[in-house]
Symmetry: C2
Subunit: 131 residues, 2 copies
Amino acid sequence: MKLRLTVSFQTDQGERFFGEGPYRLLMGVEELHSLRASAQSMGMAYTKAFRMIKNAEAGLGFPLLERSVGGKGGGGSTLTARGKELLRRYGAYRISLDHMVEQLYQECFSGFLPAASSDYRGKEPGENHSH
Amino acid sequence: MKLRLTVSFQTDQGERFFGEGPYRLLMGVEELHSLRASAQSMGMAYTKAFRMIKNAEAGLGFPLLERSVGGKGGGGSTLTARGKELLRRYGAYRISLDHMVEQLYQECFSGFLPAASSDYRGKEPGENHSH
DNA sequence: TATCGTTATACTTATAAAAGCATAACGAAG
DNA sequence: CTTCGTTATGCTTTTATAAGTATAACGATA
């Protein structure tokens, strides 16, 4: 048995704009200096990656990527300073959360339900659809 | 800005079988002594409610409802002892979790992102679909 | 033994979300 | 001034999930 935890940021109107999906995608951009390359590296369509980032930037209110288009190599994207800081903070957040969820489960269900390990997934776009 | 948190129990194969949806549905059964009545009271189709419970029982490995079919009034459903205990424990779990998520957000994002209130939703079936 | 409202279940339809396709714009380098 | 691989977007297609329809079985009561 597993615990499925998902946390995401959403607007007051309920529109989700940031979570595990964008997080992983941005981690890839930081490493590969390219949104397309990052999307490909995780089997995601570029169009979807693009929409995710655009959506996230709209929700957050500040740019995450510094893009350059054209030129040698076609261009690329790198993280803005705030984008990098967001990744650092979000990474810490989700790890702490993961621990808390698991520990609290033990406190609340120990002896009543089987032990469970937390299976963190942002459930934001970009995950494998295996059905 | 809001935090959207969802926790659900799933099998090792990733099939979700319990969360906020079944929880609320069962709370209604406890009050109304009828699965159909509980489903209706929250605008859910009975067929869906039935599937949810069946699914939950399969995943948990023990029965949640004691059903009686036929007879005066057509029958009805009440919670089993374990079913009741599950509700009590799950209720405590999600409330603690809600607090934790909010507090941790403050610790991790204070001064970087706007304050956010936790918007707990099981995202299990049974929610309104307004799009 | 006819009635009534429930549980139980298969099958179909509708809706939302994800994924994919096609194409334009860009600009440094050769 | 051509090429290349990227960013940028609209539009279509596919898939997954939710919701709905229809119908059977049940059994205490009158």
